[in-house]
Point group: C2
Chain length 209, copies 2
């Protein structure tokens, strides 16, 4: 990175944001290697050397984007809380996750791209921060199961399946729209998905009578 964080002027902050926004667009649709600095510069409305004045290397942009992304990306899971009704908690976790797929598909795709290619730049984060958080929440879910509040299953795979099903609507969006066709593939598809996922997970997780 270029200018040390504390000494950034308002203009510098602004331009850096502009670049990051443009880079998100470009990286998320072309992957890291598939994106060029020129593309990002053009999307940000500036020349390549100008962009390189704010971020010395292409990788710096990607790294900054990635760091920032991970926090927001894990926020919904962080909010999953022990207090409150378990099924309600899970329901709103699923809803929040699906809303993120709807409202931040580029972020989802950026993340998917990185994982698909073996997570070369964020492996430590997965084994550290992410694993810790998931283990913690899995313990919470396990507690609910022991208390008979929800059916017994593997909490880790439950979390994976929530990730998979919700992010699918961002990462595989073109496929979803192609299969649903013009009529059902419109804006309503997220509400249909929400209804379906609620039924699948919540009804499926109700404790066995």
């Amino acid at each position: 990175m270029d200018i040390p964080a504390p000494r950034r002027t308002r203009i510098q902050q602004q331009k850096r944001e502009l670049i990051l926004e443009a880079a998100l667009e470009v990286f998320s649709t072309n992957g890291f290697r598939g994106s060029t600095i020129d593309q990002i510069a053009e999307a940000a409305g500036m020349s390549k050397p100008n962009l390189l004045y704010y971020f010395r290397r292409k990788e710096d942009i990607h790294e900054t984007l990635m760091k920032r992304l991970l926090d927001t990306w894990l926020a919904p899971l962080r909010e999953l809380d022990d207090i409150g009704d378990p099924l309600t908690e899970l329901r709103s976790y699923i809803r929040r996750k699906l809303e993120m797929a709807r409202d931040f598909p580029r972020e989802s795709r950026l993340f998917a791209n990185e994982i698909l290619q073996g997570a070369p730049r964020i492996m430590p984060m997965l084994e550290g921060e992410l694993k810790t958080l998931v283990d913690e929440k899995a313990a919470v879910i396990k507690g609910w199961m022991r208390a008979g509040k929800i059916a017994r299953t593997d909490p880790w795979h439950l979390i994976f399946s929530i990730w998979a099903t919700t992010q699918h609507y961002a990462d595989f969006d073109v496929q979803v729209r192609a299969v649903l066709g013009p009529d059902r593939g419109g804006d309503g598809r997220f509400e249909d998905a929400a209804r379906f996922l609620e039924q699948l997970f919540i009804d499926g997780l109700k404790p066995k009578g």
Copy 2:
């Protein structure tokens, strides 16, 4: 493509297979633009011009790979049949899909890469062949619902969720292994996933008493 298919010698077939195998490895981990002909050639143990003797352009390799992939990829869904017990049919569909994620993760990632980047090369196939097949199978599932054999839901989103959850174990494999850790992330993870998915989908789809 180079030599017309009917006039290929045994050696040509063999070399082409070698190249396709190497290309699958490289494309699935780096994406199309992220992969170079040199990488593929090295992985196939030959020089770049030699590779280009068998496939004139980089795109031809990708196209051949993609065409071949789609058939095998959709085979499990094609097998989903109206005859036989609905829950058993769905259970074995899910199992076959998960087995494909386990045994052909590179194929899954190649496909995921393509879709993630907007499916520029296979869009017609998605809107045509794939949509037709899914619509057909959705009708079958709907029939089961009308007959009271399984609970009522959206058949399209049901299929999406099966795709998402099973392919997740191939596409996001590094993340799954990182989160499960060294002990649970070993070879047993697919059996755990199979048990979990069976419970989620099959128990969740039993008709409401």
